[in-house]
Symmetry: C2
Amino acid sequence: MERTIPFGVIGMGSQGAVYAKLLNDSEGKHFRLAALSSRSEEKRETYAKLYPDVAYFVDWKEMVASGAVEAVIIATPHKNHPELATYCMEHGVHVLLDKPAGFHSLEVSRMNDCANAHSDVAFGMMFNQRTNAIYQRAKEVIATGEMGKLRRVLWTTTNWWRPDRYYSNSGWRGSWGGEGGGVMMNQAAHQLDLWQWICGMPQKLYAKVEFGAHRDIVVDNDVTIVADFGDGVTGTFITCANDPLGVDRLELTLDQGKIVIEGSGKTGSIHRLKMTESDMNSVMPMEQVVAFIQGKPLGDLCIVEELTCAEVWGQQHSILIENFAQHIVSGTPLLSPGVEGLNSLQLANAALLSAWAGEEVTFPLDEQRYLDALNQAITKEGKYDVMR
Amino acid sequence: MERTIPFGVIGMGSQGAVYAKLLNDSEGKHFRLAALSSRSEEKRETYAKLYPDVAYFVDWKEMVASGAVEAVIIATPHKNHPELATYCMEHGVHVLLDKPAGFHSLEVSRMNDCANAHSDVAFGMMFNQRTNAIYQRAKEVIATGEMGKLRRVLWTTTNWWRPDRYYSNSGWRGSWGGEGGGVMMNQAAHQLDLWQWICGMPQKLYAKVEFGAHRDIVVDNDVTIVADFGDGVTGTFITCANDPLGVDRLELTLDQGKIVIEGSGKTGSIHRLKMTESDMNSVMPMEQVVAFIQGKPLGDLCIVEELTCAEVWGQQHSILIENFAQHIVSGTPLLSPGVEGLNSLQLANAALLSAWAGEEVTFPLDEQRYLDALNQAITKEGKYDVMR
């Protein structure tokens, strides 16, 4: 057995507790739970009972200095993600950071600069849905070009229903200064990451955003993004957190067929044309063309491959932590490199900027312009200090 | 039996031939085929054999003057739709006009002015898909408010596949000066009409348009429209004519559920929540909220009603013609009033204008601005005279 990496968790809220449990269940894995950190002195006793051999720190910097951990999972509210991650990396501790990477693109770019300057420490993002075999297959099909080039992508991810109580129970949620955004920053951050992971980053985007739609909040709660990936490739991304009958459906159209993924990655199918669409256009016999236009099914011109995902929902985080640990132990490539947390955040930031400005926004994002716009919103809100 | 209206057909291309056949099959209907008109002298003999008792005119104005017809169906290329329709109405002949109403909003507005000034003649548009009982039910649900207000609409109508030969076989197709546009002007004109018929006209729209996408044409062939209906109601409309695996799927989200229509109106379902989404948000017990967020199905909180459409595809045009005839005979309300042809055309015009200008366009449409932009495209194309 190769060595195991001692992990600490920073931030013992509900998600931190989940990570502690996963880290403790380490049999056959390359990780183990070594320390916990929370500002709450009261939680010390609880965790002493749960994990008697695990050190507990009220000050997370003491945990970093203690030598008890080689790596941390940061599960604090995302407002201080970049600050904590930067500190840990600067002190030689590997960082697996919960999503989102931060509040705004500029601070996350600064964090990435730090990561690039400390290539001896590992840096990963907790984009757990990247472990899903169906999304991985979709990414592979596009990367290899086995079905030609991507032409269009439509992602409707509207099944993130949250009631007002979800926001009011945690005062910082649904605010500019507390959360930095709404459905794009929090719930749909996973799909924004998978979108760019599978399709690449767009060159430009336009967004129509309804702020506080059907909820007592001020942030984005109904979003339509139209993306331009260049070279004629277009994309649409629709999300909201107020549709109890919402769906999570991804449709990727390529030269040689279509990939459809439904139910947040639960089922998928590849519809592969026997000839490319370009060949259908140019060389398919006229009688076949006419029959098809008149409604004849494609029949055996298209082969359907059903995609399955063996993994159980709750396993994703554990798989991602193990990938991160194996990366430290033996250089296994990271499934979710930390610097890539910038991309989904930039998509969300650019969409807000586009909606505020009423115009298409070009990448690379003008990070200072977004920060200024965000700080305007925070100032108007009047509850939190501006960001820097 | 009430009296029957003698109809003429102007333009005996493939669609005109279909209308002649439908008009001739008049048993139990309020219409009959009385005359045909085509510039082609050669077709006279063909039609004399098919319809021996039906007058044939090479000059459509002679048909109008002959007194042989009380109503006409105009099935010529749409470039002269407004000119022909205006002439007929001014000469007291009822007009059922094939879609699209014209090339550009300004000329169609002028045609509508003429129709309004001649309220004694009937004016209808051949939007045959309005006869579909499923779309009618969707319109009714929104109009009555029985499921509350509309919140969001997404229409993906990408199943209009056409190869290059479709365009090259008729030189005028796929050009600015010959057809005035692409997939929005021709194929998706039906869905654009149903969209505004069911949801109303938006206040603003933004469009991303790929011109000539995957085809040897210059017009719109891949379109994403983001519409703002005001009061937080948003819409997305996606169409193209290059996807052999395309779909036609309409999703309407309301306060109290969702209507989904698939397969170009072949199947549909209403998902009706027992309480409105607003009540789910405010008064649903917390344990139900938590269970639902954690993935418990809505179960009996939602009742599903399947929608069916008894009508056969080819019957739509005949039903619409009979409605138009009954309107003339006995004042039955028109299913598809002629002046409403302006709406889908304005949506297409506004989408092109938005794409060219790279900005959101506000309704009412600046018709002169669109005409100027269209004429720029026609001039650049260099094959046709500009429009007026």
